[in-house]
Amino acid sequence: MIPATTFASLNWSLALPEIFLACAAMVLLVFGVTRKADPQREVSWLSVLVLAITAALVLAQGGDKAQAFAGLFVLDGFARFVKLMVLLAAGLGIVMSISYLEHEKLSRFEYPVLILLATLGMMMMVSANDLMSLYLGLELQSLSLYVIAAFARDSERSTEAGLKYFVLGALASGLLLYGASLVYGFAGTTNFAAIADVLTRADAAKPPLGVVFGLVFVAAGLSFKVSAVPFHMWTPDVYEGSPTPVTAFFSVGPKIAAVGLFLRVMAGPFAPMLGQWQQLMVLISIGSMALGAFAAIGQSNIKRLMAYSSIGHMGYALIGLAAGTAEGVHGVLVYMAIYLVMNVGTFACILCMRREGRMVEGIDDLAGLARTDPLMALALAIFMFSMAGIPPLAGFFGKLYVFLAAVKAGMWALAIIGVLASVVGAFYYLRIIKVMYFDADAGAFEPRPAALSAVIAGTGAVTTLFFVWPAPLVVAAQAAAATLFGG
């Protein structure tokens, strides 16, 4: 029974950014509907403004860990950190899509609104403190994403992508719900803290079988969201089929939110079962790294390649989770932040691949870019080197922190496999550089839109210069990781 509550005792102010975002999204929706001409551009920039205000609100919320809505909602340093990443991803996602949507005759104002709603769902996920609110956030996010995956509704590939994502996502949701119900059945509660409490009291060596099954099912559902092996199958098809800015957003926003949720669930209610899920994470992590490394080699479509690349990156991030320590969580957060920057940069480059009025997606289309557009080639080369983990670029440090955490946790084998996988992975990243710098010209691309150039320049600079002053990110991530484990 939820105890009787007063309005004030809901502590609703903790959810102020989410509330603001929800209201703003609906206002923008109404605003768009009332306009005669399509207001995509206005709504997009307004959405970016809304996201910025939301981020400011998140930043303004200081303080220790606090709960709201009778324990359904939690706010701590960890949540704030992940929310800021998600908001940044969403903002960049919208900025990158504006000119694309106009070019591709997809200019409809619902697009930014849907992204806002998805972002709202992600923020809910990150702050979830109960299996119910977890599911609520997850579904709000997923439903919005299903729609924008199929946003180019006249394109066969886009609709196929949306449908596949929806069907498989529904299956994953089913697994997650089934797992949640099992956990509820055995623990008698859906609140994270309470579950942890029950599990702590249970015999650590022989936890209730139902809870174990529940755990595996919940983990499977979450793995789907982060596209970890073996729940990754949707990723390449959806990434390839969706409009490119959607793919760009998919590869960062939902990933970050899902990883955040993953961390919260594993380090929260299931923390007492560390020994049970650690093996699971190791397997998923190794599978993802290996598949990401190997399968990408055979790709000729750069979006598809990025899909496998993101699978691989999730594998590296999960190393930090598998370590099961505050250090590991710290590693994951740093990793995701760096991943966000370099991935957005890469997709900004991909969005510039436009020739004769059409988007091109083949790796071969990049041939000779070093001569036709040396700056973009340089930026893309930096992103590729960074993804391959070449020092002193940012990507190297991301890997360094998670590997370090694994080593400190005594998981040598996992770290070594990670390094080996990154060696294989380097092959296809370097191949792109080789194509750009050494192959015969495939012809110049159309001029880059200003917004994309700005994004490329910004992310490129961060990727290159991260090593000069890594302290802000590293320290913030450390504080965030501490709250997750400290609480």
Binding site: K164, A220, W234, Q279
Partner: protein, 692 residues
């Protein structure tokens, strides 16, 4: 300051010439602007290990390198290196008088190099008489060679590179002779090896030069292995690599024994033999001498530098420097004596039949080094260093003179195709005479004083090996005189054997080349007289002080002055009869040599082929190593490592990638199936892991 300047100015010259000179010549430019494929690569980007990324500086980037015309950097490099060397030589000479005559020996500590556990190595310049002699000699001779090179290499394509190498070579040698510990000595030792490699292979477009450079480097490695082991052994025994510490502790460790493969021997003997192997490599002693004649592939000033001032004398210097160790290792000393004597004899026999002007002189160096070693072997270190000192002058003179001849003869090096040119090259002719007189040991010339001292000391040692050395040395002296005059007569006298075209072009070298020759000639005349009393006279001990240690029971140095008269006169008689024989053979009865060669075909071939050392080494070491290398390359590396390693892994990766791609069918129900199967697998695995 004096001391530091003498050693480091050549390094400064090297860096300035190498960096700025090359820069002025446009070598650092990564992409030749507008001149790709126009021969700019001839400048070579490979000659400096610095990762320079100077951008395009957009000046003077056309045309150079085609016509070998002087480039802006050439003049600069020549000026700067000669200037640095000249100042260094001045400092070196001043330091020599300050240390050797005024007695201000000192050690200048620069900074700590290695401080690891009990191993402490610092950079320090040890200035005692021995190093002062070496520094003075090296800087002076090297300066003259630098000046000479300005003329000799004027038309070369990469003058700054050459001048930089020369200075680097000199610097390494100076580091070697001023070393205060074995590690620093080794640094100089290897620096000399590196510089010699670079210089011998200076004309790297020539395969033979590349091969000679590699050969010099590899043969020296064999010796260096012994040397490195020796250093390690010294550290093991004495717990230090610093000379003063080692020398102070020799007495207490003299009876230490070591057991190797069941054979017990005195540690000191073993260490000295190992160190001597290092010296053998550097100083081209019998067995490890094969690189020296081939080193003639380098430009002639390089040969002069290698043979006179730097490199080959390093081994002799090292034995003298380590005299406190060798003095307690009588067996090692005997080995030094015998190897030295054998080398002196062997090289002289080979020198008699060589036809390449530079090779004749090269074998004479080899032979003279043998003298130095057997002098050291009978504990007459001052005599060894004295001979080294005088030899530096006349050998540099001979080489540079030979260079002048080659220059005059349009790059002809075979003495059978020379002759009759003495009127056209009077200066070269004169200095070659002086050099030969000094080499043969004719009275009043430098070689007379030192060589006689060496031979007398060998006799005076009253040991069996000393006697053997004496007689081998006498035989070598005879042959030395013979081949020196053979060279002189064939080159300058008789009827011209070169074609008319070449003969018309014969001309004296420019002043920049002849002035150094004349200065060296002065050295070859006076160096013996002037320094005889100080170096090896009755009061030599006051000159050398602590720099050289001679055990009280070894009297060779003292007794050398009181040997029988015939012992003193025999070398001179032999030298004169050698000269006479040469006159008979090559002026009076020119048909005789051919007849004798035909009569003793086997012996002639044996000598001409240098006792078949190269062939022997080729059969024993080179070819089996090549065969083994080929097996490991084709079989080991190609089939096994590449097959299983890079190639195999790459192929496997591709196969896995293809499979992973195929698994992505595009059907939703496949995907859903994989998800569920994965879920089942995870649950199953979880149970299995728990059960296990």
């Amino acid at each position: 300051m004096l001391y530091i300047a003498a050693v480091f100015l050549p390094l400064l010259g090297c860096l300035l010439a190498g960096l700025i000179g090359q820069y002025l010549n446009g070598v650092w430019r990564l992409v030749p602007a507008g001149a790709a494929g126009h021969g700019h690569d001839a400048h070579g980007h490979d000659d400096h290990a610095h990762a320079h990324t100077h951008g395009d500086h957009g000046q003077d980037d056309h045309g150079h390198g085609h016509d070998h015309a002087p480039q802006p950097g050439d003049r600069f490099a020549q000026m700067i290196t000669v200037l640095c060397m000249a100042v260094a030589a001045l400092c070196g000479v001043l330091a020599f008088f300050d240390v050797a005559y005024a007695g201000h020996a000192r050690t200048v500590t620069l900074f700590t190099f290695i401080d690891s556990g009990s191993l402490e190595v610092s950079w320090a310049l040890r200035y005692d008489t021995l190093s002062a002699v070496m520094v003075g000699m090296v800087t002076v001779v090297s300066t003259l060679i630098h000046v000479y090179s300005v003329g000799y290499m004027a038309h070369d394509k990469t003058v700054p590179r050459f001048m930089a190498y020369l200075s680097l070579f000199t610097f390494a040698m100076l580091m070697l002779v001023t070393a205060d510990n074995l590690v620093q000595l080794f640094f100089g030792w290897e620096g000399v090896g590196l510089a010699s490699y670079l210089l011998i292979g200076y004309w790297y477009e020539r395969p033979s030069a590349g091969a000679a450079a590699i050969k010099a480097f590899l043969v020296n490695r064999v010796g260096d292995l012994g040397f490195a082991l020796g250093i390690a052994g010294v550290f093991l025994l004495f717990g230090s690599v610093e000379f003063s510490t080692i020398f102070a502790a020799v007495a207490e460790h003299r009876d230490a024994v070591v057991n190797i493969a069941g054979i017990e021997m005195r540690t000191l003997e073993l260490l000295c033999v190992l160190l001597f192997i290092g010296a053998m490599g550097k100083s081209a002693q019998l067995g490890l001498h094969t690189w020296l004649p081939d080193a003639m592939e380098g430009p002639t000033p390089v040969s002069a530098l290698i043979h006179a001032a730097t490199m080959v004398t390093a081994g002799v210097f090292m034995v003298a420097r380590l005299s406190p160790l060798f003095e307690y290792a009588p067996n090692a000393l005997a080995l030094v004596t015998l190897v030295g004597a054998a080398t002196a004899f062997f090289a002289a026999t080979v020198g008699c039949v060589q036809n390449d002007i530079k090779r004749v002189i090269a074998y004479s160096t080899c032979s003279q080094l043998g003298y130095m070693f057997f002098a050291a072997g009978v504990s007459a270190y001052p005599a060894a260093i004295f001979h080294l000192f005088t030899h530096a002058f006349f050998k540099a003179l001979l080489f540079l003179g030979a260079g002048s001849v080659i220059h005059a003869m349009s790059d002809e090096q075979d003495i059978r195709r020379m002759g009759g040119i003495w009127r056209k090259v009077p200066i070269t002719y004169t200095v070659m005479w002086i050099g030969s007189l000094a080499l043969a040991g004719i009275p009043l010339f430098a070689g007379y004083y030192s060589k006689d001292m060496v031979l007398e000391a060998a006799w005076a040692s009253h040991t069996a090996h000393g006697r053997i050395a004496y007689f081998l040395g006498i035989a070598a002296a005879f042959m030395t005189a013979f081949y020196s005059w053979r060279l002189l007569l064939l080159t300058f006298h008789g009827t011209p054997r070169a074609d008319k075209h070449v003969m018309d072009h014969v001309h004296e070298s420019p002043l920049v080349m002849t002035v150094p020759l004349m200065l060296l000639a002065a050295g070859a005349v006076f160096a013996g007289m002037a320094f005889y009393e100080s170096f090896v006279g009755h009061h030599f001990a006051e000159f050398w002080r602590e720099a050289i240690f001679i055990a009280p029971e070894h009297h060779a140095m003292h007794d050398a002055h009181d040997v029988a008269t015939w012992v003193k006169k025999l070398p001179l008689v032999c030298a004169l009869s050698g000269i006479a024989l040469a006159y008979v053979f090559y002026l009076l009865r020119p048909e005789l040599p051919g007849l004798i060669a035909a009569r003793f075909q086997g012996l002639y071939r044996f000598l001409l082929n240098k006792w078949y050392f190269d062939e022997l080494y080729d059969a024993i070491f080179v070819r089996p190593s090549m065969a083994l290398g080929r097996v490991l390359w084709k079989g080991g590396d190609g089939a096994v490592i590449d097959g299983l390693g890079p190639d195999g892994v790459a192929a496997a990766t591709r196969a896995v990638a293809a499979r992973a791609v195929r698994a992505q069918t595009g059907f939703v129900y496949h995907y859903a199936f994989v998800m569920l199967a994965g879920l089942v697998a995870l649950v199953t695995l979880w149970f299995m892991l728990r059960a296990g």
